[in-house]
Structure formats: structure tokens, C-alpha cells
Symmetry: C2
């Protein structure tokens, strides 16, 4: 396996022969990453130079943007012959992203058998079980012998994505069991499939969200999972490589969304794409910032009397934000794995609040000591100590309850928890600290 | 598949018969999750009631804490017979976590063949390729016929974790190729393996980090990856189910570490565990908070003259923090996928800075208008507009460069980027805004 550098790639692009020689030594997925930044001329050359099969590999391994670019340089008839080397689920992914006109034209050019399957698959949302399933699985019948089944496997193994698990169906295509190829290889030739099949199969319906599918596969260590309709008839299977893609996708989404970034964005996004994807989140946060600002403004008189408050108040809110993010992250992670009800987990909430008191007291005492040495006022030190505990309690409470509440409202806790939690720690943090300062103002004045 | 509720579990725990009847209907992994909070008496009962094989399933699916608890109720001889139903890599995981004394005692009780393998596997760090590999793979020779190989597969398929891929070795156990079972099923019985094998195999050495292994498997859509030593001899294979666990683990780690949380912590952690894991991060952040506080203190005179600054300055730093987190998240994500050099990506940095100007101007103009209506001072509005653009430039610059720099220093960008970026946006944000205010103080005074 050759590592691709931009120099090697440029050398290879000199002419068709050098490129084809280069192609043999690289993995298509590496090439797909390396050509992302080439200009259209080079992309067009690659499409012309490669034969249908290698071109199909390259398209399969390209990301959405590159797929669109590649397919724009391939005419409809060529694209159809490239499709011959692809699994149906990949074809659907590709034409699903094409402009509607071209999508329709391509489907109309297909053989009627293919047309039916593709149309069927296109019905399912891209991120559902139906959207990621493949129709290339091996189905056998319960009354077949092992020998008959092995013969069938030999015939279609080449076109099947999974051969380790065979799906047993009845005459109406209802899924009634599965057989591990291991057991079949070990069994007698004349044995019936019904005697070696496992009839408790974990399956999903096509509407199920891909995240749920990934959770099942990861939890039960499956290598594939069948998709069945309401009647129990098998529609397709989802393979573990697609599940890995889903897991990576969903985690990235969660991680980026917690930071207010869209999953679609990466280093190669254009300026206008980045603006469109990031500015709205900043605008929402501006609202939060003003809420905090209004709170401070309420105490303008107090700050006027003791200007040292302006330099110390941000410590309280900053620490509240950090502690709140910690609590929230733990909750978001647990919610991604399982249902959490407050009723069954009130002890965890109590622990979280105790933790807030301890962490608040620990950071509060350090802060109080430093503040005392900076400003020489015991009351200011005492106030910041109390405010720190108070705001960490706010952070623990909101960090715990906000994700739970969003989940209950069927919102994604990963997306919007941050904003609610930091609004709470900012607004209430300022309020607690400056409110206490106002109460004790006679002890603070003249600092 | 039965859903497990605490009521059903309590019912089942009445006596052995009811528990065994209950066990048949549940998945071991679900049971393992459900019994985490049971007290020791119940855990002990379960260990006594279950036979070796179901007990081995339960232990395999338990998390580290529960494994330790379960094995504390199983004596050495029983544990060894439970191990008979497990893969070697799982046994190693379990005894690796036991107290040293017990670990040694168990190994000494093993048959010498097993002893050797277990000792060998224990040498590798838990999070390396060697630490997650299994020794249950199928090896065949290049000069064997297809018929011979199929016979071999039949014999050992039952004990092998992967049968879809067969590994071809020479007489010194060096890995020289692999065969897809599909091709073997389709080939003639008398054909030699050398004629159908693929001799470009992607493999890893045992010291390689598990994250790197996961990246290879996910990138090249593998279902297993062989582990070879320096000489090229095969030591074991890593299967896709373990890779999924690694991916989930590593992503969770990144996500939690960005928020200053240890991966080990969850809702069931005790108060003292949580304190130990979260307080250090808060203390580090306290340092940051004081840096920002000192910056504000430098401008105490300015704020004394125009107290409105204290309510508006946090808008500038808050927005800088949000924008910086966005940029940083994108970089951390990309760095997890590939190497990024500044030299090849300076255009992306320029775009990021342009984006900062646009986003800064957009949020800045909104802020300026609101501030103008709140305080009626044109210069204050102008200053906050300029400061917003300035601090978003800081956020873009640091959000981009900090993760790159940390990676270059071989530190994990996911862990410590946040603290450096927010320190920059806090300190420089206050500095820019209050510094401008100081310059224009004559236009602001008397607000």
C-alpha cells in the first residue's frame, strides 16, 4: 500500500499510463481523499482514464461533495455501466444526492428489475435502517438440506455482502431464523436447515433511525442485522462496515453540535458555507450574552460603588460554565446509551449536588484566599466563596436536568444543552454574586 | 428478547429456578447492565446459580467494575472452568484487571499451553493492537488445495472468531496472503490456495495504538485485521466487534475530555470518584479565570469612570469563546482523521480569519445597535463592534492553531485545546475591549 503525496499524485496525472500504474498501488479510499482538492480538469481526466470497475470503487469511497463532482463528468450511460459494479445501497446513496432531473433520467434508463429495487430503496430516509440496508444477502429455506444450501451459497456468495450469516425465510419471504455458516460447515450434508437454525433473530424495521441500529449492533456484537417489514418479510440487511460509518458519523455530529458546528462542515468548506453554518449559532448565543449583560446592568449601582466586583464576577460565572459542561457531558453520554428517568436516578442527582458543594467549596476557598490578598477585604472573599458554591450548585442542577428535559421533549440533548446550561450559570452566577455584594455593600464600600 | 425491568429482575431473584427461566429470555449484555446496582448478596447468588457457560457470557458482557465484583465471588478453580467458554483475548482482559496475587495464582493453575498464550497476550498494553487481538483465527498454507483448506475450516470453524477471511502463512508462520471464503467456495476443489489468495494484506504490529487500528478498519471497510510481529509472523487478529468498542470508547473519550471529564466517570460513580476526576480540571480552569480577572483589574480605573463597560465586556468574551469552540472542534475532528500541516492548509486558515471578520461584523453590528439603544452612546457601540471583530479574529486564530500546535507537541488536542483557546478569547477579549475604551475614554465619560 502506497502513501499518496501531492507530488506523486501530480506526477501520476501526467498521462493515462502513469495514472493507471499509480492506481494499482493505492487504495481507492486514499485516492478519494487525495483528489478532493484537484481542479475540474484533473477530475475529468481521472473519470476518462479509469475503467468502469476502478471508477466505481473510487466513487464508492468518495465523500458526498466529490461524488457529485465525479458524476458530473460521467454521462448517464457510462454511469449506469459503472453502477454494475456497485451494491444497490451504494447506487441509491449516489443517485439520491443527484439533481432530481438527472436522478429520474438515470432510473428510467435502468432495467425494470433494478428500477423497482432502486425506487423501493429511495423511499427510505437516508439516515434510516432502510436507507443504509443492502439487498445483497443470502436467503435459504428451512426445509432445504445443508447440501442444497451450500450449493446456493456457492452460486451467489460472490454478490453477497455477508456470507457468515444466512437468513432463513418461509414461502412468503418472512424471516424465521438465521444460520451461522460455521454450523453449516460442521453439519451433515443431509441435515435440514430447520434443525440447525437459530429462531431468535434481532431485526429492525426500515423506519428505525440509523443511530438505533448502530446501538443494537454494537450492544449485541452483531456482524449484520436484517431489516424486516411489519409483516416480518425480509427487505435487506445492514452490514457492520456501514454501521461503523454510522457510529463515526453520529459521534462526530454529537461532538460538533455540542460546540455549535454543523457536521457537514470541514476544512474544505467554502467561506459562505461556513458563514451559513456557524453564524446562526453565534446569533443564538448573542441572546444569551445579552441576558447575562442585563443581569450585570441591574447591579450597575453596586459595581459603581465597588469596582473590584467587575474583575471578580467573571470568575464565578466562568467556573460555573466549566462545571456545568462537565455534568452535562456525562448526562449527554449516558442518554446516548440508555433511557434515564429522574425517578430512578434521583440519587445520582443528589450526588451531583453534593459534588457541586464540594467542588464549589474547594475552588471557592482558593479563590477567596487569592481575592483576599488582592483586595484586602474579608467580606469580598466571603462573598465570592459563597457565590462559587451557589453557582456550582446551579451548574450541577442545570447540567443534570437540562439534557433530561430536552430528551423528554424529543429534542437532541447534544445540540442545545450547552446554551441553556451556560445561560443559567452566567445569569444566575452574576445574580448570586452581585446580589450578595449588594446585601453586604456597607462592608465592601471604600475598598 | 425480553426487556429487563427492575421489577422483573427482583422477581427472578426469588430463587434459582425463576432466575434460570428468566435468563433464557434475556440477552447477557442486557442482564449485565441491569444487575450493576444489585448488592453483593444478589451478585453472589447469580454466580452460584448460573452454570459455567452462561456465567462466562455474563462476565464477558459486564463492564470492568462488574467483572471484578463477579469474579470476587467465584473461586479460582471455578473461574478456570468458566474461562473454558471464553476467547483468550477476553480471558486476558479479565485477569488483567484482577489483583496481582490472584492473577498469578490463576495463571499457575492453567495448562501450560494456555499459560504461554495468556502470558504472551498479557505483555501488550490493554489499548494496543496486541491487547485487543484474539488468537482464534484460521491459518492455511499456500500450497494446500481448496479441499484441504475447507476440511481444515470445518474442523476449527467452531472455535474461530472470523471465518470469512482465512490467513495464508508460510512454514515459519509468516503471513503471506489472505483468502476470502467466498472465493474458496466458488473455486475448484483441487485448486491451490496460492492461485486464489490476495497477497496485499493490511496488517498492524502489536504495539500499534488501538485508535490507529480502528482508523484502518473503518477507512478500508475491513471485517478483521491481522496482527504480525516485526518478522511478519502472524500473532493474532482483531475482529470488527472489538473495533466498534474501540471507536465508541475513543469518541467518548474525546467528547468528554473536551469538557474536562474523565471517560471512567458515569452516573454510577461515587462522590469521591467524581471529585477526584473533576476537581483537577476545575482548578486548572481557575487559573484561566484569574488571568482574565487580572486583565479586567488592569482597567479598573477605566471601568470606574464608565461602569457600563462592566455589563458589556462579557458579551465580547462570551462570543469569542463560542466562536473559538466552533473553530477548535472542526480542527480536532479533522486531526482525528488525518495529518494536517499548516503549510498545506494556510488557505483554510485565511478562510477561517475571513470568517471571523464576517461573523464578528455580523454579531458586532447587532450588539452595537442594542448597546446604542441601551446606553445612548455612539462610541461605546463603535468600540464593542470593533472589539467583537477583534476577539473573533483571536478565536479563529487560536481555535485553528492551538489544536495543530498540541498535536505537533504530541499532546492530545481533544484534551487541552479548550483551555488554551478560552484563555486567549477571555484575556485578549477583555484587553481589546477595555483597551479601546481606555483610548476613547473622553467620549465615553459621563454616560
Amino acid at each position: 500500500m502506497e502513501k499518496i503525496t501531492q507530488e506523486k499524485l501530480q506526477d501520476a496525472l501526467q498521462n493515462q499510463d502513469s495514472f493507471l500504474a499509480f492506481y494499482v498501488d493505492v487504495e481507492p479510499v486514499d485516492l478519494a481523499l487525495a483528489i478532493e482538492n484537484l481542479d475540474d480538469d484533473d477530475i475529468q481526466k481521472i473519470c476518462q482514464w479509469l475503467e468502469d470497475e476502478p471508477l466505481s470503487e473510487l466513487i464508492e469511497d468518495a465523500d458526498d461533495d466529490l461524488r457529485l463532482r465525479l458524476s458530473s463528468f460521467i454521462d448517464d450511460h457510462r454511469l449506469l455501466s459503472v453502477f454494475n459494479f456497485m451494491q444497490k445501497d451504494d447506487i441509491v446513496d449516489i443517485i439520491g444526492d443527484l439533481p432530481t432531473g438527472r436522478k429520474k433520467a438515470l432510473i428510467n434508463l435502468m432495467r425494470s428489475g433494478d428500477q423497482k429495487i432502486i425506487k423501493e430503496l429511495l423511499k427510505y430516509p437516508e439516515e434510516s435502517a432502510g436507507g443504509i440496508m443492502t439487498t445483497s444477502y443470502i436467503a435459504i429455506k428451512a426445509n432445504w438440506t445443508v447440501a442444497q444450501s451450500l450449493q446456493r451459497i456457492r452460486e451467489i456468495a460472490d454478490k453477497s455482502e455477508v456470507i457468515e450469516t444466512l437468513y432463513v425465510i418461509d414461502d412468503t419471504k418472512r424471516l424465521i431464523g438465521e444460520v451461522d455458516l460455521r454450523n453449516m460447515l460442521g453439519a451433515q450434508k443431509a441435515q435440514r436447515i430447520s434443525t440447525i437454525m437459530d429462531d431468535s433473530v434481532i431485526s429492525v424495521q426500515p423506519e428505525v433511525d440509523q443511530e438505533q441500529v448502530a446501538r443494537l449492533v454494537s450492544r449485541y456484537d452483531l456482524t449484520s442485522i436484517p431489516v424486516v417489514n411489519k409483516r416480518g418479510a425480509i427487505l435487506g440487511i445492514i452490514t457492520v462496515d456501514d454501521v461503523i460509518d454510522v457510529i463515526v458519523e453520529e459521534y462526530e455530529e454529537d461532538m460538533l453540535q455540542m460546540a455549535g458546528v454543523n457536521r457537514e462542515e470541514d476544512l474544505s468548506s467554502t467561506l459562505s458555507e461556513s458563514i451559513r453554518m456557524r453564524l446562526p449559532w453565534l446569533m443564538v448565543n448573542l441572546l444569551t450574552a445579552f441576558l447575562a449583560s442585563f443581569t450585570v446592568k441591574m447591579f450597575q449601582n453596586t459595581i459603581e460603588q465597588v469596582v473590584a466586583l467587575s474583575a471578580t464576577m467573571t470568575i464565578v460565572t466562568g467556573m460555573g460554565g466549566n462545571a456545568g459542561t462537565q455534568t452535562m457531558s456525562i448526562l449527554v453520554r449516558e442518554l446516548a446509551k440508555r433511557e434515564i428517568s429522574l425517578k430512578e436516578n434521583w440519587k445520582a442527582l443528589v450526588k451531583e449536588l453534593l459534588l457541586s458543594v464540594v467542588d464549589g467549596a474547594a475552588t471557592g476557598i482558593v479563590t477567596a484566599i487569592i481575592v483576599y490578598f488582592m483586595y484586602g477585604n474579608f467580606y469580598l472573599a466571603l462573598i465570592i466563596f459563597i457565590a462559587m458554591i451557589g453557582n456550582l450548585l446551579v451548574s450541577g442542577l442545570f447540567g443534570f436536568l437540562v439534557p433530561l428535559g430536552l430528551k423528554k421533549l424529543h429534542a437532541d440533548p447534544a445540540i442545545s444543552s450547552t446554551i441553556f446550561v451556560t445561560t443559567a450559570t452566567d445569569v444566575l452566577g452574576f445574580f448570586i454574586f452581585l446580589g450578595l455584594a449588594k446585601l453586604f455593600i456597607s462592608h465592601l464600600a471604600g475598598m
